[in-house]
C-alpha cells in the first residue's frame, strides 16, 4: 500500500464512520409481520422524528406479539430515500411508513415495484392502490395557542417565526391570528421567515429581533427549541412546536402543539394485519388524537386555561372551526363568507394572510 492509497483508505474509513451514524434498528423473530419506518431526522431530535418514533413504539407495545418494527433515521430527502425504502420493501416489510413530505415520489416509485407491500406517506398528496397518505390538522392547535397569546400579550405585538411560506405554515399563522384577534382586536402578528426548518442560531436571532421590536409572546413553526431559550432569558412567553419543550424554558414555555401518531399507527397496522387496509387519505385533528397540547404553564391564569380548554373541546366536538367566516384578508376583502367555513382545499392552498398579520406573504 503506497501513501496515496493509504490516504484514500483512511478517507474511506472516515466516510464509513459517517454512514455508521445512520442508525438501523431491528428486532424480533421471523414469523411476525415486519413494519418499517423511515425518518427524515434523528429520533433524538425531540421534535418531529421523535414523535413519529413514539408512534412506532406504541405499535411495538400494542401489537408486539404479531409484528416487529424496523426504523431508519436521518434519511435525506432525495435519491437515498428511494434506496432505503426499496431495501425495506425487498427485505420483507409488509407495511412501510415514510414520514416526510420529500419521501413522496420515492415512496410511489418503490410502491409500484412492490404491489404486495403497503405504504403510508405522511403529509403528501399523491396516492396509489398501495400508498395511503396521512397528516394532522396542526392549525387546530394554532387556534388554541393564538387565543392564549391574545390574552397574555401586554405589548399587543406577537412574534411568529416561520420556516417556509408554504400553505401548512401560512394556515397556521392565520388560524393563530384569527383566534388572537377574537379575544384581543388590538394585537398584531409580526412574521419573520428563517427559510429553514432547523437552524438553531438563526431561530434564536429571529426571536431576539422580534423581541427587540416589542414582541412579548413568541410562536414558532420551526423545529429547534432555540427560541424557547431566548424567551426564557428575556423573561417573556413562547409556545413550543412538535413536542413539549418545557425543559428549555420552564418559565417561558406556555404550552406546545404536540404531534401524536400513536393511535393512527396502531390502527393502520391492525388494519394491515386483518386485511382491511386500503389506500386512503387521513387528515386528523384533536378529535382523532393526532395532536394534543403540552401541559399548560402554571403561570397561565385559570380563566385563560379554562377558555383554552373550551376552545379545544369545541374544536374536538365540531362546534368550532379554525376558519369560521367572516374571515377577511389583509386588504379587508371577505374571503370566507359569514356562516361559512374554509374548505379543506382552501386550507391546503392558503397563500394569503388574514387581517392582523403584518407584512406580506413572500412570493
Amino acid at each position: 500500500m503506497n501513501r496515496r492509497t493509504m490516504g484514500k483508505a483512511l478517507m474511506g474509513l472516515a466516510t464509513g464512520a459517517a454512514i455508521l451514524a445512520l442508525g438501523v434498528g431491528a428486532a424480533g423473530a421471523q414469523e411476525k409481520t415486519k413494519v418499517g419506518f423511515v425518518y427524515v431526522g434523528p429520533i433524538s431530535d425531540h421534535g418531529y422524528s421523535y414523535q413519529h418514533d413514539q408512534g412506532r413504539l406504541a405499535v411495538e407495545k400494542e401489537l408486539g406479539d404479531k409484528v416487529t418494527t424496523t426504523f431508519v433515521e436521518n434519511v435525506p430527502e432525495g435519491a437515498d430515500a428511494e434506496r432505503v425504502i426499496e431495501q425495506l420493501a425487498a427485505s420483507g416489510h409488509k407495511l412501510i411508513f415514510t414520514t416526510s413530505f420529500g419521501f413522496m415520489n420515492p415512496t410511489l416509485k418503490v410502491a409500484q415495484r412492490h404491489p404486495d407491500v403497503k405504504f403510508e406517506h405522511a403529509t403528501g398528496y399523491k396516492r396509489s392502490a398501495n400508498v395511503a397518505t396521512y397528516s394532522a390538522r396542526f392549525y387546530e392547535g394554532r387556534t388554541v395557542i393564538g387565543q392564549i397569546a391574545g390574552k397574555m400579550t401586554k405589548s399587543n405585538i406577537i412574534g411568529y417565526i416561520g420556516s417556509f411560506p408554504i400553505p401548512e405554515v401560512i394556515s397556521g399563522i392565520n388560524a393563530f391570528t384569527l383566534a388572537m384577534r377574537e379575544v384581543n382586536p388590538k394585537a398584531e402578528v409580526r412574521v419573520v421567515w428563517v427559510n429553514s426548518w432547523y437552524d438553531p442560531g438563526k431561530e434564536a436571532e429571529a426571536a431576539k429581533a422580534l423581541i427587540d421590536q416589542g414582541a412579548d409572546v413568541i410562536s414558532l413553526h420551526t423545529d429547534s427549541p432555540a427560541a424557547i431559550q431566548v424567551a426564557q432569558e428575556r423573561g417573556l412567553y413562547v409556545f413550543g412546536q412538535s413536542s413539549d419543550m418545557t425543559r428549555f424554558g420552564p418559565k417561558a414555555h406556555l404550552t406546545a402543539i404536540v404531534d401524536d401518531w400513536r393511535e393512527y399507527y396502531v390502527t393502520r397496522v391492525k388494519a394491515a394485519l386483518d386485511g382491511t387496509w386500503k389506500s386512503q387519505d387521513t387528515w386528523g385533528g384533536f378529535k382523532d388524537h393526532m395532536l394534543f397540547l403540552a401541559p399548560y404553564n402554571p403561570a397561565l391564569p385559570a380563566d385563560v386555561v379554562a377558555a383554552a380548554e373550551k376552545t379545544r373541546t369545541d374544536i374536538m366536538e365540531g362546534k368550532r372551526h379554525s376558519f369560521q367566516g367572516p374571515v377577511k384578508d389583509q386588504s379587508g376583502k371577505v374571503v370566507i363568507a359569514e356562516g361559512k367555513q374554509a374548505t379543506d382545499e382552501q386550507i391546503l392552498k392558503m397563500d394569503w394572510y388574514v387581517e392582523g398579520v403584518q407584512g406580506k406573504v413572500p412570493k
Binding site: R3, G7, T15, R190, V191, K202, A209, A215, R247, Q358
Partner: protein, 310 residues
C-alpha cells in the same frame, strides 16, 4: 428617540454576537492558509468542537472547561487532517471535504445522548452605567467573555503574523515552502502547528455556538457557518482586520434582514436570507478584479503538497 433608532442598539449587540463564531473560525483558517495549507474541514471541526464542548460542560457543569474541551476536540480533528495531508501527503481539498463529512457523522454519534438537554447560559458582562448607555451600551459592554476574546484575537493574530519572527517564518513557509526548507525551517512542523491552531479556533467557534449562542446540542448546529468562515478568509484577502469587517458585515446583514421582516418592510424574505451570501460574492468579484492585490496577499504555496526531497 424614534422606534427605529431604539432598535439600533439591540441590532448592534446581536450583530457582534452573530459575528463571533465566524471570527474564531475564519481567524484560525487564515493562519492555516497563511502557512500554505488549505483545510476545508472547518465545518466538521466546528461540529466536533461544539458537541465535545457541550458534553464536557454538561458532565462537569463548567462552561470554561467546555470551551477548552471544544478547542481541544477541534485541534484533535485538525491533527487527523495534518497527519493525512502533511505526513501522508493526501490531497488537501479531498481530505478537508472528508473531514467535514466525518465531523458531521462523528458529532452526531457523540451527541446522541446529549440532544434535548438544556444547560445554563454563559453570563453576560454587566457594568452598571456603561451597559445601560443608549445604543452602544449593550453592544460594547454587555456581551459575554467569548465575544471579547474573539475581538482580541484579531489584533493578536495580526501582531503574530506581521510583527514577530515566528509569524514571518510561518508566512515564508506559506509563500515558498521549498525556499523555507532550504533555509532550514521545519516546514511540516510549522504547518502542523498552524493546522492545530486552526482546528482549536474552529473548535472554539463550535463551542461558542453550543454553549453560549444557543445553549444546546443539535445535529448540524453550525448550519454552514464553517463554509462562510472559509469564504471570509478569501473575502478578507488574508488580512485579519478585514476578517473582522467581513464578519461584522455578515453578522450585520443576517440580523438586519430579520428586523426588516419583523417591521413588515416589503422585501421578499428569500432575497433577504440570500443577502449575506450575495454580499460575499459581490465583494469577492470586486476584489478579484484587482488581480495584483490577490496575488500579493494569497499565500503562493496555498494547497500545494510539500515533499522535502522534491
Amino acid at each position: 428617540m424614534s422606534a427605529e433608532l431604539a432598535l439600533l442598539g439591540p441590532i448592534l449587540a446581536a450583530m457582534l454576537a452573530a459575528a463571533t463564531p465566524l471570527l474564531f473560525a475564519a481567524l484560525g483558517e487564515l493562519v492555516v492558509e497563511k502557512s500554505g495549507v488549505l483545510n476545508l474541514g472547518v465545518e466538521g471541526m466546528m461540529l466536533v468542537g461544539a458537541v465535545c464542548g457541550f458534553a464536557v460542560a454538561v458532565q462537569t457543569g463548567s462552561s470554561t472547561l467546555g470551551f477548552v474541551a471544544g478547542a481541544a476536540a477541534g485541534a484533535g480533528m485538525a491533527a487527523l487532517f495534518g497527519v493525512l495531508t502533511l505526513l501522508l501527503l493526501a490531497n488537501q481539498v479531498a481530505t478537508g471535504l472528508a473531514l467535514t463529512l466525518f465531523g458531521v457523522g462523528l458529532s452526531a454519534l457523540i451527541g446522541q445522548g446529549f440532544v434535548g438537554i438544556p444547560i445554563a447560559d454563559v453570563p453576560e458582562l454587566y457594568i452598571p452605567g456603561l451597559t445601560d448607555l443608549p445604543v452602544i451600551g449593550k453592544a460594547l459592554f454587555g456581551q459575554d467573555a467569548l465575544v471579547y476574546l474573539a475581538l482580541a484575537a484579531v489584533p493578536a493574530v495580526h501582531w503574530f503574523l506581521y510583527a514577530t519572527r515566528k509569524g514571518l517564518i510561518l508566512r515564508a513557509v506559506g509563500e515558498n515552502h521549498a525556499a523555507a526548507h532550504a533555509l532550514g525551517y521545519k516546514v511540516v512542523r510549522i504547518r502542523f502547528l498552524a493546522v492545530l491552531f486552526g482546528g482549536a479556533m474552529s473548535g472554539m467557534a463550535g463551542a461558542y455556538l453550543s454553549l453560549d449562542y444557543t445553549p444546546m446540542w443539535a445535529e448540524g448546529i453550525s448550519a454552514g457557518r464553517g463554509w462562510i468562515a472559509l469564504a471570509l478568509v478569501v473575502f478578507a484577502t488574508w488580512k485579519p482586520g478585514r476578517v473582522l469587517l467581513g464578519a461584522w458585515l455578515f453578522g450585520g446583514v443576517t440580523i438586519a434582514q430579520l428586523h426588516v421582516q419583523g417591521l413588515g418592510i416589503d422585501i421578499p424574505s428569500q432575497l433577504l436570507s440570500m443577502l449575506p451570501y450575495l454580499a460575499t460574492v459581490i465583494v469577492l468579484v470586486v476584489i478579484s478584479r484587482d488581480v495584483a492585490r490577490i496575488r500579493l496577499n494569497a499565500p503562493a504555496s496555498l494547497g500545494k503538497v510539500f515533499h522535502p526531497d522534491a
